[in-house]
Assembly symmetry: D2
Homo-oligomer: 328 residues x 4
């Protein structure tokens, strides 16, 4: 099939490459001409602007936008919508807020255009392993573009089949799924990332405990450990209940440097973690773990909070407790 | 009444003073002779060692130990128990772990001695306001020493009586209570402190939010605040639902310096907060808020956790995300 | 001064009564004519519709709307704005979302009208104790209406003055405060309620622990307590660190029935708790305690969560653990 | 090698079977003669009491105890220790509290006996997949018994090797590890289970959100989803960041019944989750996620908490809010 791809950062470029490997044809564009020129050497049609892209695609067109969520995605969608024809499809494969997808789906539908929102997971390894695709939008459009999703998804691979799935939707086993109407794809991806935050934090706390339990002093006398966290991560990779890709990655990082000395401890967060908490509030779902995982990241980026100073001030007030004062 | 008091730090000395004001007589001892000499000028009998204290007290004796929890309290109790006579009473007014009280109560009872464990709240203000006393041990011993407790407790004061209390135990309204057998006093004090942690953290988070909502940039455009947290703390002292002593103390600290610039943000924790979590585990009681309040303090004392570095390492592993690296 | 009041539920009616006691004159309206008729007997001018209210007030007018947040408040504000004249003031004293205030302030300013958003705390006791008022909007309008706020606020009362306040804003000590531009009043009230949630949850967990520690069996052997939670709440009211109005209310409820047998355990939540978490996310402020307090309420309203069933299903999957199955 | 195995429940019996498959010889005992008789048919030597077991084993003996943690394990260890000879080894492969291992290691060492504590993960699937073994005790004893561990562990299998492991301990890649002195094995297993709790809760909250976002009413208007959680679990198994064994198990359970209708929602917890929190407290490690995961299980086993009733009582007190009352 023919697909337009706008935004040729690492993710966008790798999507093009994976599609080409599967025999699809991509028309590509990026503000920076270099990545498109590189992809052209592999057979992509590199164009100079959006207008040229629309011209180069045969109707009904499908254009996949892979840009940072926000302003740039919105304007690109609007610009393309103005040039495209009824029956054409716009796809946002970035990390949009799902309510924006709901809105866009309605706006584009009013113009006779189709819209798909696709959450993709797989990161830097997706080119080789394939991307897990969570797709929202109308089902007929999903069906029409299914060859694209088949090519991008990991496929069944060597993974053991899940029992009790006789008669169920076969696409999930290939690694792509139509999740529901516009917004459903990014909603499912958002929850995926929320779970990812929680799993990461579970491992992080566990390894922190192992390290702190290896402290030389200040602990109850039974503690006399000197745990090798790299070896522990490795042993858990075989036969334990916590086997997971995140554990594999942790084992690799710890094998390279058990101290993780290159990292300062500042941890960024992205929109998905925050939107997950918002969804918890809106649906009245207790989500302690997903929320704590986000708050840990907020805290990691501060030297100290005003909250902590308030605690010290109260302690001085009622008990005369003297906390370590600021130097200087 | 006559009371022996061992340990003349701020709390111990103030207890002696408050008892003297009420007409009781104290025999006092501390390893450091100075505080005892000062109290002697106010009428206390200052002695040079525990043996002399026991000798100076008339049977049935009562000795109140006000020392740091742990080793020193244990040995002092053991030393005194060896010198005292059946029918005498030992009191631990410090911050002991309640299970130690259960054990001590049994050990001393086997020797014919009585034991009371008393949790005291009131801090540096107790000399004038009185101490809230939570008392464990046998009821008859509590009854015999009640004049001591009456003198130390705040009394009814100007506080509005609680409705529906007709026919209830009048001592609670005076600020002292027999809570149950040995251990009950420190258990109730432990829970008191657990609640205190939670209330403090609630205020701390609230004021932190007000400060962060006053940031000059990086916030959604509706934020354009410049809150005066000292004034907000003050206005809440009148008629609001959060009126409390802790708010009074916060208002005072913020009035002195709205930035709380003297505090580094390191917050200590004491045994009670930790034992509260242990009790939550032992009784299978979900105690999110009390536990989070403790964890916040743990976190406040670290520059960064290994947990946070694990998160960064995973993010680099699956997404190639580059966190700010450590300098140098 | 003259004030229009729209919405004569318990809060609205009590505000009118408190203003009348202080010599102010209110023109009142409610869709239900009865509360207005009752207030008319105390001297209020009861009108039949909003148009009549506007007519009965002398310019520059001030109208206080005290209606449930949402649709009804929005339409009432819009209807009044259409009838009022430049220089007039609209006040929302309900529990609006602060971003709605920011928007309204801009819209009304464009029409030459003033807008104040007022968060009020004090609940059913406000008529007698006075209301704590947190006020947003332009300062000149606040200044002009200050006599109204003085009459509604609790005043200095018998509360001990806060140290270090020399030279500070005197209104906070009276119980009312101009907090900043439109939205600031409800923002501060929102944070107040967030803190309230946290304090409530701290007490709730503490008393839950005392109850569970009094269980007859299933506990480690040191537990042999039978705590009287009503007495413990009462004793903490005197001299302890957790003294607070919320403790007073808890002591009263427990004195009436230590089992709290009338309550099912379902706990509602209002917008403020949810918006507080939203503000935590938007300002990247870790707010574990305020958030947990909200999630506890979510959980209290469910028999069981799907989350719990997922846990059981996993346990069966890896360990063959058999959880208690559903009956029937 | 020859190994004695005491306790022939599912885990103990499967360990014997897996050892026999690898050519080792087991002398087995259980109070219930039946499982031993069954194993005897596969070549095990089934004995009638502990004395006979000791007699049947050649020195230096090694006996693996696989009994429920607590009393029965303690007395069996003591009984065997009394019969065994210097140089012999006792192994606890159950779920002991790690501080018990520290104590036992010292006690047995004083008698010239060796002690290993082994945490095993793998559950009902371990017979075929192998068991992940976390081992504490003296290194020489570990070395001597290594053939046993090799046989029980999963081995390298088809799992992709971890980068950067050149020159590292090869046993971790086989699925067994000497973690440190006595106690280290069960400590590492305890942390493993703590992480397991956190990961499970992350998935549980995520799927709960997907279900609640599919509610037919009561949600903001953008929500119009009807998510098929079985398909979503399946699609995440391929290429996503949350791929893990726990996800595989969840996908299987949801494929069988998307409603999980067989489960009541009551979730048990075992010692490891509780001990993990205790270790967090003792090492001053913030462990929000691991702790919340435990508290969720506590809460799942209650209809309502006293905490929730306290909240309702306060709300009635300050706001006159009427919560749904208990029926009848």
């Amino acid at each position: 099939m023919q697909l337009g791809v706008v935004g040729l950062g690492r993710m966008g470029a790798n999507i093009v490459r994976r599609l080409h490997r599967a025999g699809h044809n991509c028309v590509v564009y990026d503000r920076d001409p270099k990545p498109g020129e590189a992809l052209a050497r592999d057979g992509a049609v590199n164009v100079g602007d959006l207008k040229e892209m629309v011209a180069k695609l045969e109707a009904p067109r499908a254009i996949w936008i892979m840009l940072p969520a926000g302003e740039i995605t919105e304007t690109t969608l609007a610009d393309l919508a103005a040039m495209m024809s009824p029956g054409d499809t716009l796809i946002d494969g970035g990390n949009a807020f799902w309510k924006d997808d709901v809105r866009r789906g309605r706006e584009l539908e009013a113009k006779g255009l189709h819209y798909l929102d696709i959450g993709t997971s797989g990161g830097v390894h997706g080119l080789d392993r394939g991307y897990c695709l969570m797709i929202g939008g109308d089902k007929a459009t999903f069906d029409r573009l299914e060859p694209i999703f088949q090519a991008l998804a990991p496929g069944k691979g060597g993974i053991e089949p899940t029992k009790h799935r006789e008669g169920r939707n076969p696409t999930a086993e290939q690694g792509y799924l139509h999740c529901g109407p516009a917004g459903a794809g990014h909603f499912v991806k958002m929850i995926h990332n929320g779970i990812e935050y929680g799993m990461m934090q579970a491992f992080a706390e566990g390894f922190d405990l192992l390290r702190n339990a290896s402290a030389k002093d200040g602990l109850p006398e039974e503690y006399g450990f000197d745990f090798d966290v790299a070896e522990i991560a490795e042993v858990w990779r075989r036969g334990s209940v916590v086997t997971s890709w995140l554990l594999d990655l942790t084992a690799e990082a710890l094998a390279a440097d058990e101290e993780l000395g290159a990292y300062s401890g500042h941890v960024s967060d992205s929109g998905e973690g925050r939107w997950t908490v918002q969804a918890a509030i809106e649906t009245a779902t207790p989500a302690e773990v997903l929320t704590s995982s986000l708050y840990t990241r907020f805290r990691s980026r501060k030297d100290h909070t005003f909250a902590e100073k308030i605690l010290s001030a109260m302690r001085a007030g009622f008990g005369g407790h003297v906390e370590p004062k600021k130097q200087g």
